[in-house]
């Protein structure tokens, strides 16, 4: 990778004041919020009309959902993660943010799994076409990690950075308030340090908290953040608190042991498009879409028609989709990536290489979700390591080529809702 994936100049919405430069690269001294006063912050957000979303325990995991107050936070809970395995476990303290990002990501709120993008209504013999312009929810995200800020910055480039702006994402993104929380621990699947996206929150937040036993060190990231804490009983942090915060952040950094060598990765992967290793991965890959669904940057979607029985009112529904689906990509109606190996190759090379060509950044933030939530635990950092070894050793490639078996043949026909050009 040729440039850092941590996007410093995050797109404007989070910082709509003119003086945001005060807060970037020139950290203000941290203030301190007592543990019990977090409730005041949340109440303030609610008074300001925000719907707070953040971590909570549900379905045996720490997920993101609407929060009514501090009591919804996963206080005293943490998680254990490894490739293909996640377990919710109790902590021996009362930390509220003592966990590593889990199965959900913030994209489900900015780019919902399902949304109506347009409608058509039959009017006489004609159709009236319109777009869906409902007011966007006003979210305050509480507990956004550094890698997740980077993921949001990447999706900003996808949805807002091109010639065509997605109005749905834009509305939600404009309204959102970001309260980040620095990681004080890491999981064995984390590799943010390799992707230069963490663990410490650098920019793109309104507030950034660092949790210590007695409360939170507070860093202000924007004018909006400053206004928010104005009414809160903040006081300057004392040196002991500052040291405790630094210790916690250092713990997280130390615990990030997984690494991915990104040097020259773009060219390396694109030179390995014909590698037999893709077949080897395909023996394990279920092509189930889990990695793409949990990925905080994956943005693939499909629009389908939802009509009432009379067919007079039609809604165009956009839903999350995945490049792992057989019928996702087609030429003349025929699947163009008709094997698991070609689909895994598409995903990995897009995420780590061609994303750079398209958006000027890597598509990976090193959060490790795709490793944890892949049932057979395929680890992209391991696959990259193998591909790098193969690139450096043609003999090894030849040896693999002889043993690689092809993936399973298709067994049923795909169904299409749209097709190629006529």
């Amino acid at each position: 990778m040729t440039e850092s994936a941590a996007v410093p100049g995050i797109v404007a919405p989070a910082m709509n004041s003119g003086d945001s430069s005060d807060f970037i690269g020139n950290r203000r001294p941290e203030s301190f919020l007592l543990r019990d006063d977090l409730q005041l912050l949340m109440r303030r957000l609610q008074e300001d009309g925000y719907t707070i979303v953040g971590p909570k325990v549900d379905q045996d995991a720490i997920v993101y959902g609407e929060l009514t107050g501090v009591s919804d936070l996963p206080q005293g809970w943490t998680d254990q993660q490894q490739p293909g395995k996640y377990r919710l476990v109790p902590r021996d303290d009362q930390r509220m943010f003592g966990y590593v990002p889990g199965p959900h990501s913030w994209k489900q709120f900015l780019f919902p799994p399902s949304a109506i993008v347009a409608t058509a209504q039959r009017v006489g013999s004609s159709w009236q076409m319109s777009t869906q312009d409902e007011p966007a929810p006003r979210y305050a995200f509480l507990g956004v990690r550094s890698c997740e800020l980077s993921a949001i910055a990447i999706q900003d480039k996808v949805f807002l950075g091109g010639a065509f702006v997605d109005p749905h994402y834009e509305q939600r993104r404009d309204a959102v308030l970001l309260i980040a929380v620095n990681c004080t621990q890491a999981a064995p699947v984390c590799f943010c340090t390799s992707m230069k996206t963490g663990p410490r929150c650098q920019s793109g937040f309104d507030l950034a908290l660092t949790e210590i036993d007695t409360g939170f060190l507070v860093e202000i990231g924007s004018e909006r953040g400053r206004l928010l804490v104005e009414a809160l009983p903040l006081r300057p942090a004392v040196s002991e608190e500052i040291r405790a915060g630094e210790r916690g952040r250092a713990d997280a950094e130390r615990q990030v042991t997984k690494q991915m060598n990104t040097e020259g990765l773009h060219d390396l992967l694109l030179e390995q498009l014909k590698s037999p290793h893709w077949e080897t991965v395909a023996e394990r890959c279920l092509s189930c879409t889990n990695c793409t669904m949990v990925c905080p940057t994956c943005f693939c979607s499909s629009v389908t028609e939802v009509s009432d029985l009379s067919g007079d009112r039609v809604q165009r529904e956009r839903q999350w989709d995945s490049c792992f689906n057989v019928d996702f990509s087609r030429v003349n109606g025929i699947p163009s990536r008709d094997s698991i190996s070609s689909r895994y190759r598409q995903w990995l090379t897009h995420k780590l290489a061609t994303w750079q060509d398209q958006f000027g950044t890597s598509g990976c933030v090193g959060c490790g979700r795709c490793i944890t939530w892949c049932p057979p635990g395929i680890d992209l950092t391991e696959e990259v390591r193998t591909l790098r070894q193969l690139a450096e050793s043609p003999q090894l490639t030849a040896a693999i080529g002889e043993t690689a078996s092809s993936s399973l043949p298709p067994n049923t026909a795909p169904q299409n809702t749209t097709e190629g050009r006529g």
Partner: protein, 275 residues
């Protein structure tokens, strides 16, 4: 877009070896049933009406699997009589739960169950409709999803291909926000290799997917089975997971046969240890 039809398409429902549950899904479309009845002429639907009209028909909904020589002949007549044949449900699309007989001793079953087995004329296998005749569309599930059933009928009336998903259950779980119970709790779940369409119901109720919609397109069943075995599931506990409603679907069958061999190998070891 709907072209004004000169006459309503004639719909017929045929039943083979099955429990009738899938046909009932059509009757279960309470709110929509009247609309459907307005779009098609329900010419034969024994479960709903004793009024039966002779063929030919435009659309055939075929439920059930082929288990007797008579049915094997009857389905060929259905094909001749109908323009579009849609198989509905796991029995029709994969042989159903009754395909477990494919692994059993057919003659022995007959002797055990019937006082006069010589009067029984049945095949030793239960097979999918598509193994006997060309099928136009398959609706998976045990039972079928009624929304999908409606979609097929509406699409055929409108002269378009139905929109039926080919992706895995996992995608639907994620769209719903359901946390993967396989990863978070170690529950063996067939979601990654099972075709979507059910609405990913079971995992949202803390239950592993039991594959009632059959294998997804290009399902890598071998890898998932390996994963279950690697994470400590015994072959004999996994066997019933693959060998139920869609036991005879080739992708599932291949792995259940493999598990059976493994289970036998394990029990063989246990036996010799006991001795």
């Amino acid at each position: 877009m709907t072209h004004a039809p000169t006459r309503k398409p004639r719909l017929a429902v045929f039943k083979f070896a099955s429990c009738d549950g899938c046909q009932l899904s059509l009757l279960d479309c309470e709110d929509e049933l009247l609309t459907v009845a307005g779009l098609v002429e329900i010419a034969m639907f024994p479960e709903a009406s004793s009024r039966m009209q002779p063929g030919p028909w435009d659309i055939a909904l075929v439920e059930g699997s082929i288990t007797t020589p008579h049915d094997a002949e009857r389905i060929r007549q259905v094909r001749r009589d109908c323009t579009t044949v849609v198989t509905i449900g796991a029995c029709a699309t994969a042989g159903g739960i009754q395909s477990l007989r494919n692994w059993g001793q057919h003659e022995e079953f007959l002797r055990c169950v019937y006082a006069r087995p010589e009067y029984i004329s049945s095949l030793s296998t239960s097979t999918a409709i598509a193994e006997h005749i060309p099928v136009d569309y398959e609706l998976r599930g045990c039972p079928v999803n009624r929304q999908q059933l409606l979609e097929v009928i509406l699409a055929l009336v409108a002269g378009r291909k139905p929109r039926l998903p080919a992706h895995s259950v996992c995608l639907d779980c994620k769209r719903k926000g359901t946390v993967c119970i396989e990863v978070s709790r170690g529950v063996p779940c067939l979601g990654p290799i099972t075709q979507a369409g059910c609405g990913a119901i079971c995992p949202s109720f803390d239950r592993g997917c039991y594959g009632c919609f059959g294998p997804a397109l290009q399902a890598n069943c071998g890898s998932l089975t390996n994963h279950f075995l690697d994470t400590g599931s015994a072959p004999k506990t996994l066997l019933p997971l693959l060998r139920n409603y869609n036991a005879a679907a080739p992708a599932f069958r291949e792995q259940s046969d493999r598990l059976e061999q493994l289970a036998q190998a394990v029990s063989g070891k246990v036996d010799s240890a006991v001795e």
